[in-house]
Symmetry: D2
Subunit: 334 residues, 4 copies
């Protein structure tokens, strides 16, 4: 009853998923690998005792593969996701689902035509224990309606290839998905504020910036994006509701006292901070696949995130609010 998984594009993230599946996750095994770099496919397949396929199409259609994980470059996602849908196989696609909202729409069309939710988008924060407890408390109604959320997404540094739009499409996209899920509603507008720039960045980059999103019911979300903050990978989130507030705690397991300081470690990157979330995400996906069910973010979520990010990117160069353009949510995804 083990789920036999085909992995497309096993780079850093893909190989981390493979290792998790083989060492700390129940019920799955990566049995097939493909990559635009055939040598890499071969090397990974040998390391884990899997079959290397010449291409993703062949992998997807293999009768030995029950479900597919796509960890390739974003522009390559669409064709493989569509092939999975055509083959009737569950597919876990790393974020972003597609580089454009239009491509996501095509995936949604195909999935609706197939009549079954097959696509899960790899937004791992929905599986983080902290966000989950926040959502459980907010959903309980004990604190009343949520009115505002304050987020911060801080990386120690980014490389020179990191461009301004990546602050939205690669970085803030996590808050976009997590906040949609946390609030249970869509965003209608985006605005970007540009604080004083840090001198500790490549010259082409506006860093930090603040993305401000407004939801259908008027909830205001602000998200500080600061990708050269130097001091750590620091993810903050505080939801303020009518009768109380709830925030992510620093997830410390030890407290240290030395040298006249009481201190705790701040994580260094997303792999460290969200290790547990990644494990739970993939575990729940494999378990759902085994039961014939869907879990996690849908194609609609991938589409909606792309639409919000499109507005966010446009807001980078425009004053004021940019409306989020989005089709009406198909009943299929309700």
């Amino acid at each position: 009853m083990t789920v036999r998984i085909g992995m497309i594009g096993p780079g850093g993230m893909g190989q981390a998923h493979i290792d998790r599946i083989h060492t700390v996750i129940a019920g799955g095994r990566v049995v097939a690998v493909s990559d635009v770099n055939a040598d890499n496919a071969q090397a990974v397949a040998e390391r884990i005792g899997a079959v290397a396929h010449a291409g993703s199409a062949e992998l997807i259609s293999s009768p030995e593969v029950d479900a597919v994980m796509i960890c390739s470059f974003g522009p390559a996602h669409e064709v493989d996701v569509l092939a999975c849908i055509a083959a009737g196989k569950p597919v876990f696609c790393e974020k972003p689902l597609t580089p454009t909202a239009d491509a996501a729409l095509r995936i949604m069309d195909a999935e609706q035509a197939a009549g079954r939710k097959l696509v899960t988008v790899g937004f791992m924060r929905r599986f983080d224990a902290g966000y989950r407890q926040m959502k459980a408390l907010l959903d309980s109604g004990d604190l009343g309606e949520t009115l505002m959320v304050h987020c911060a997404h801080r990386n120690p540094t980014v490389p020179e290839i990191y461009t301004w739009d990546m602050a939205i499409n690669d970085t803030a996209i996590h808050e976009v998905d997590t906040m949609r899920w946390l609030l249970g509603e869509e965003f209608v507008s985006a605005r970007v504020d540009t604080p004083k720039k840090t001198s500790l960045r490549f010259p082409h980059l506006q860093d930090p910036l603040v993305l401000i999103l407004t939801s259908e019911s008027g909830v205001r979300v602000d998200d500080e994006i600061f990708v050269n903050c130097q001091f750590g990978y620091d993810i903050r989130c505080e939801a303020v509701a009518e009768k109380g507030a709830v925030s992510l705690a620093d997830q410390n397991v030890i407290d240290v006292r030395s040298g006249f300081r009481a201190s705790n470690a701040i994580t260094r990157d997303h792999n460290e901070r969200f290790w547990g979330a990644f494990v739970t995400e993939v575990q729940e996906w494999i378990s759902a696949v085994a039961r014939g069910e869907h879990t996690g973010s849908t194609s609609w979520d991938g589409y909606a995130a792309a639409c919000v990010c499109d507005a966010g990117v446009q807001a980078l160069t425009e004053d004021g609010e940019v409306a989020v353009e989005m089709i009406e949510k198909p009943a299929f995804y309700a």
Copy 2:
């Protein structure tokens, strides 16, 4: 060598100052009182063994009075502050210095003509241990340049008479002054965002709102104003700099465990939260008066806060940023 103080308008705040001076502050004594309500002046004077004056002018000119504290209604401040300046007496005036920037300008003119800084405006947060340690760390340069500050100013509830503009003029004015002082520069623009409204408020009120200020050098300050948050008087502040961040800690002195919760008290009002700041503020003012020096916020600070608040109030009903109108800072206040 005791500083003999005349108190104008001893309402709740004024009497709290009197009690501090007489019980926990060195070097001062309230010897004279006046009030538009003569009965109140008489009652307070009797309670503390002081002289009740028929009017503030008489109190200010009394040879028994070395320095004056003004705790009356805001619109009454200007005439009394001007009288103090005319009399050459140091004056501590509760915030706001004046209801309008123009009135503050007249006070600055008079003070400059007098050739000596006599006016201290009662912005107590500059004396809070937390803000002071934040400023010391930021000023040290260890964290690099400050880029952003995130503030929240939360009250459990406000009464029905509280109006929208008071969110700026009475509430946010504290962050306006404290942030000017923390950053050591002026604000050039203000904007107001209006999140989803809490249902637990009087219908006429937009609550919460977010005031966004931009400083001369581009530092972005956001200030969540939520005056019916129900859960406590909760003052938050996090400054984000190039190499680190510093925030106000919850100033707990005990930790409690009971009923499956580890918890700490949140303060109930500004008197509880800023008790120490009020004491230090008045202590340092009295000590400075005794030495013939000035301490705390100046007339310029009162003026500048009024200018920023004017822009903030305008921003309540306008889209986008409102420029802060302000004269150039006179060298006298440098």
Copy 3:
């Protein structure tokens, strides 16, 4: 390559292990079950699609079983562990390994005769992220030598059947094992102090008590055992070293503000508090079995814990320190 596990005595703990293995752990499957209550064995076997064996001996000798987990009543452990050793099969035995040190000695003899470490004792705290980070920091030497450890082991309540010796043998035994592992040395003496009794306990019970252990090198460990503390399952540990201290943090993932309190949840029981430790413990055991290696606490650890607990139980009714009686550690377990 799945490790096929036989489960002996699937009560609450055993079934929790089964569920973990089948839902969140890689590489194992429970394929066989036995229980002194045959009906229970049958029911569990049916639920998970495993074979119910008439007795533990039959289960252990089954060629379909690669490794054995023993979750039965303590007095039943010895015979089954010995049978596993005789069969050359890795065995995970819930704590305590045996009710007496003598029985543990017999297991050690058998294991040494077999020439291979086959026995793992279920002390899960060694797998807790907090204790592991504490140990890593102490082992790094950055804080110098460890001098003292302060522990507390608090349960909300215990049932009437809980007896005084269980405070040592069932409760403090966790600190005994964890501290031996943390310090990397044995304890030489035990003493018990009896503070004022809580009125919220069954009359026969001394609760709380404080167990004080001294290690070979002189490290002093105190362990407050308070099993009717009412307020939560609260596990505390602070190691004080020559240049600093490190303690278990409250492992919060959210912070809540409401009703004038900032608060965090305290866990309710060991399953909640040590969920992650249990998962890691069983995962690492299964992975080690698959590699033909040993992991976790050994028979020696089970024996040593029993010796310390024997001294602790004796100390319950004696003044002053009781020496821990222990054979010299066989080279086999070095």
Copy 4:
């Protein structure tokens, strides 16, 4: 109505008290000074505009002196305190009241003969905000009866002249007084445990040690004394009661994030940690003197602390518990 204070023995602590009285405390003024070192008395008197007396007796009897503060060397306390009592003047005597319990008894006899509580002993922790909130919560009964208290008293380092008995008489004496006050009862026995010694100490010193006290009702207090802990002046206290626990919080006013650590400062010495307690202590004493009342620790408290410390010092060199020898508490001090 200013209280005119005579200061005997203005060394470091005495001059700190003078500065507090003159800069941040209401209602007092140091008008007279004496010292065994006449030059020091002269220098201090000149600095503050006070009279330098040739000896303490002359100072005490001066009609210009309303109340006396004694900050001289411990062995000199008795004669001056007795002279104050004879003169009917309130006297604040730094701890310890006297080096021996017998001397304290003579003071109590004189005070009772005088018929009025005149002596306040300088145990400042009773005035610390944290201990006060702890006591208020415990006294409220919300947590039930107190059963145990865990204390730690850590100094970064001590000089070579620090001897073993000082660990009790100079260091632990603070916990002795504070715990007597917190619990509202006396201690009946003391024991000392000696953990592994830190290598970072002078060879003659056992450091750390643990003092264990038992109260009349059976409350057990343990106090870790670690005076070369290197990492800070770290005062910890957790009281465990029947339904909950309360502990001193780290009294942080800011939180800092930098260099992959979230951290807070640990104080460097008692002046920094207990600054507020010292100010409140002296303020309340002066206010009480002005009202003709007594405040703070009494002669009985000084005597009782000495008795407990005597037992503690004896316990340094004896195995097991040492009974605390103490007369019955005179009704005068009830």
